[in-house]
Symmetry: D2
Subunit: 119 residues, 4 copies
């Protein structure tokens, strides 16, 4: 996993939006809808594939390229939401990981894919 210069990236995204005067459409409600639509475009790639086939996507240049495009779209809208809410992404992710570690203690969740309230 390579690092990413979020500060510079976000600056360029905001420039892109400003150039097109699109901020008027970017309410949090709308951005969230757009984010969920992009996620579904990723789901569409995998919907008829077996789990095994889905894992082999990285050996299929054509499919991988589609996955990359959708992942990029998801990332772009997510950054818009992060920027609009002034969220510090590292802080909230670290905080959520701590919550998850508490909800899913190793000894009780090991090898089990159940929701914490069903463990």
């Amino acid at each position: 996993m390579n690092n990413i210069d979020l500060k510079k990236l976000n600056h360029d995204i905001e420039r892109f939006v400003e150039d097109r005067d699109w901020d008027q459409f970017h309410s949090l409600k709308n951005l969230t809808m757009a984010l969920s639509v992009e996620c579904s475009e990723l789901v569409e790639i995998f919907q008829w594939l077996s789990e095994k086939q889905s894992n082999e996507v990285k050996n299929n240049p054509e499919l991988l390229s589609k996955v990359q495009d959708e992942v990029a779209d998801i990332f772009l809208y997510l950054m818009r939401i992060v920027s609009k809410t002034n969220i510090d992404i590292e802080t909230v992710v670290r905080s959520k990981m701590l919550k998850n570690a508490e909800k899913y203690p190793i000894e009780r969740s090991r090898g089990i894919a159940k929701k914490y309230n069903e463990l």
Copy 2:
């Protein structure tokens, strides 16, 4: 927008998954489903709010905290997908921004929220 140490974060996420032996559930197909479910939990927060109300979420600590949790969950699953596909996130996002700039030339898309093939 603050930067984030993706390399270290990803290392810790992988450790979390390994500790729980959850990698067996993390096919790309399943991760994509989980990602879309987390997105919808973000959508749920905004579904009955007006666009204006959605933008005021950052002044409502209780709602903002929910948004932060969902954004974190989305980010976490997205990082899993990025890691599993060996995607270089900065490269694919930059590449998608170039495609978007071509699909949505400033002069034709300014102030218009239409899909590129309807412009």
Copy 3:
């Protein structure tokens, strides 16, 4: 709202699937993914529209036609899921309406769009 002959419709859908030997792809997991993808195609139509504009879709033949197509796709996949699980749709919908009436008593939920556990 006109009635619909679900029995006959389902018979014809099953014939369509059988003719194409597609039942092998129609696990409940996959059908659910496909259903969520079709829902998002409906969301995509409305994502940049205001609420007011969304309500005027029925006066826009081109957009209405898209909405009709997506609603049909959603209905088709939903019928597949209903058929695969032997759900009696009227029974489960009636039963859910009773639960909703309990969760959202008129006096406490009137004019309020909050989740029952926040009322």
Copy 4:
């Protein structure tokens, strides 16, 4: 597959909404968001299950009951959208089936889960 009295059901749904004065929240934009959220709650049930396990849900009363509840919620919001757009559901579904039959001719799509434009 049993039939369903849509006309009467829709009448009762509209009464439920009217009693709670909820029509003010039911723009097509919002209803579509709510529909997609309910779909994701169905997806959540299946996200970590194998395809085979997903098909066995009908033998698991607890999971089946959850599936029934989510299917009912999806149906309810879909009926709201159908009602708001004055769609004749049988007509649009039949029309979409004809389009699908053209897009996916038996001889070219038999046993193949590819999108029509990739066949």
